[in-house]
Symmetry: C2
Subunit: 412 residues, 2 copies
């Protein structure tokens, strides 16, 4: 019990937090959607091709379908003369057979006639009369031909469960004739703000009041991941009111985020509520990052509940690290391209060893090099996130970065 207590209050690394939460979650469902509704959705099952694509040998050039060996040795000074005995019509089956010494006209995309094994580009032919061409360059078997099944072979797994459907994947799904796909349901994210000082954006703040920033920033982040965010509004600093609201959100959503109140009082209430919801409950208090340390991670009956820091910058950083992967993939999974941009720091920045630092940076190009200029300012200032277009990660083992050093950045 003492050990458990200690574990709970020991700040976790991002990796540990992901592993701990990931070990308990079970969210999502599946639905079938039409092809045109599928872009950006996550595939729920592997996709296998039924047929070969293309379903026939196909010319990639305008020219003549030939037997390649009839062109061997051909040159401008000594063309290979072939009889033109047919023409491939676009979209039609090429019925017939090309014999030795024969050629058929063929358009790009046309079906190679039986007997042919290559295409001669029209640029390397000369038409002697309607029925005869001279070929001035040899072709090898397979030249200018896409083989039957060369794009996709029948039975092949062409897309994998869990991946997000990109534009090219849509093209692929179309090519294999799939007009419906099974995708994961969008993850429903319930967003609750807490704090007696927080008011709706449509209201005019009295002295001591501020408009709700976090609900909207988090809504935007969730929407950008293809999730279905829902704002549950602002709850006053009361255990009963907050418990009711969180229970409602948990019943209707897959993930619940609490944020907004930053005073010790509100935080205590939020922690108490999260603690009382169900099994396994709170899994850690605090992650060893800056900004974002005072984060509570919990799972209730398979659904993650996060108590996010009150400062908007901190809440957004924690969302990027702990919520974004879940919304995109439904699980935490290794993503080597999570921080894909390498940028050169414009100035020294200190950080404490033993914790990861996330710097707001403005990326721009300076003589072909992408540079990262840190945006300084308290983590309570949303304007610093607006000035930034990147989030740079300083690894826990470093005690800072120097001007000229490279950092890994995520675009925001």
């Amino acid at each position: 019990m003492a050990e458990l207590f200690q574990d709970l209050f020991q700040a976790r690394t991002v990796e540990e937090a992901r592993t701990i939460i990931g070990g308990h979650i079970n969210i999502g469902g599946i639905e079938k959607v039409l092809l045109l509704e599928s872009p950006g959705r996550r595939l729920a099952e592997d996709v296998r091709a039924l047929d070969a694509v293309p379903g026939f040998d196909r010319s990639t050039m305008d020219g003549f379908a030939v037997k390649a060996r009839d062109t061997f040795g051909a040159s401008e000074s000594l063309p290979a003369y072939l009889d033109v005995t047919g023409e491939v019509l676009m979209g039609r089956e090429a019925v017939g057979n090309i014999g030795t010494g024969q050629a058929w006209r063929i358009p790009t995309g046309g079906m190679l006639p039986p007997g042919a094994d290559a295409v001669v580009m029209v640029e390397y032919t000369e038409e002697l009369d309607d029925r005869t061409i001279g070929v001035t360059r040899p072709v090898a078997p397979g030249d200018h031909v896409v083989r039957c099944g060369e794009d996709i072979s029948p039975g092949a797994r062409v897309l994998s469960a869990g991946q997000i459907i990109r534009p090219q994947d849509l093209g692929l799904l179309s090519s294999v004739g799939l007009t419906e796909v099974a995708v994961a349901l969008p993850i429903r994210v319930g967003i609750i703000s807490t704090g007696d000082e927080v008011i709706e954006p449509g209201c005019s703040p009295a002295p001591g009041q501020v408009r709700d920033i976090n609900s909207y920033a988090l809504y935007g982040q969730a929407a950008a991941c293809g999730a279905k965010p829902c704002i549950y509004g602002i709850v006053r600093d009361s255990y009963e009111l907050l418990l009711d609201k969180v229970r409602q959100a948990l019943a209707e959503c897959d993930i619940v985020l609490l944020s907004g109140g930053s005073s010790v009082g509100v935080r205590d209430v939020a922690h108490k509520v999260i603690d009382s919801l169900g099994f396994p409950g709170v899994l850690f208090h605090g992650i060893s990052i800056k900004p974002g340390k005072p984060t509570v991670g919990a799972v209730v009956d398979g659904k993650p509940v996060f108590g996010l820091p009150g400062h908007p910058v901190s809440a957004m950083v924690v969302f990027e690290l702990l919520v974004t992967p879940l919304l995109k993939y439904g699980i935490y999974r290794n993503n080597p391209l999570e921080f894909p941009v390498r940028a050169r720091m414009t100035r020294n920045m200190r950080s404490a060893a033993g914790r990861e630092d996330y710097l707001r940076v403005r990326l721009y190009k300076d003589e072909e090099i992408i540079v990262a200029e840190p945006i300084l300012g308290k983590s309570g200032l949303i304007s610093t996130m607006v000035q930034a277009n990147g989030l740079a990660r300083i690894p826990a083992e470093k005690e800072g970065v120097e001007a000229g050093e490279y950092v890994e950045v995520k675009l925001i």
Copy 2:
């Protein structure tokens, strides 16, 4: 006239193509949307803050509001003793005044009472009794305080017309009390496939037929940019039919894309149709890139019309270069982060000088370095785009890249 003819048929660089098209386009409109409908949309006008954020000096810590000078010289061995004469309630105006030698309890986010200019963290105080604290560390004026207007000053331009509304921008809009914003209408993209061999994805291809890939891949690309794509279906190889369809798409959309047919015959018909639509008409034939060279660029009454290459990879590459920027920003504008990832090539790749090459690459991490493995294969194979997750640009002045060299990549 001869010069114009030559100009039209001279292959353009991507930059030239953007400049030429950009000089003639005039697309889009404006609508007002609610805050929660605005993420991902493009701001139609600058946003200025009416009020200061926060609207009052605000504590960033739980502790005591003080006059900083009352703490000067304080230490653990010689604390500064202050009378606790009040308490700031969260979300309430702090009415009253802090006199010399006095302190008020204040929560994180609370309003600094008149007379106070700093906050002492609770960790650096000791409570002697209900009415007296000892301060064990001095604070300077402004310590642990966000000043009125420090996040956003009243009247400041906080967001600029033309930018896309990101999650943090949503938070900012909320903080200044905007519940509606003027955004650009989503750009409507009409997509037309041509070719006698192309059939709908729901149909079973007879020999010689292939399912439509391009319409769907382009639809996905347009949707990913926040545009409103519309598929107009497959048009047979006929001038009249195609002209009718393109006219319909032009009447209903802001941009029209023709693609699919790759034979000379279909291309000729497509070019003839584009040429006959209106002023200024076709502006260039061909761009000096690979893949994607046989691209026709036109503008008709302010609306761009592109004749895209038939091969899916080529069509998608041209879309990324010439259509994506328009859909995102409504204009071509300089984007230094268009190819933001720097990756190390795993193998040599040749390219011809004088044309830009775009390589399909698979990015992955190899010992902390992002590497780019070229996906080889004909540009007619959609599966090569599916295997790729990046598009690497080889500048026109280079004759290839060597293994170990770095390239600039766009994630796809």
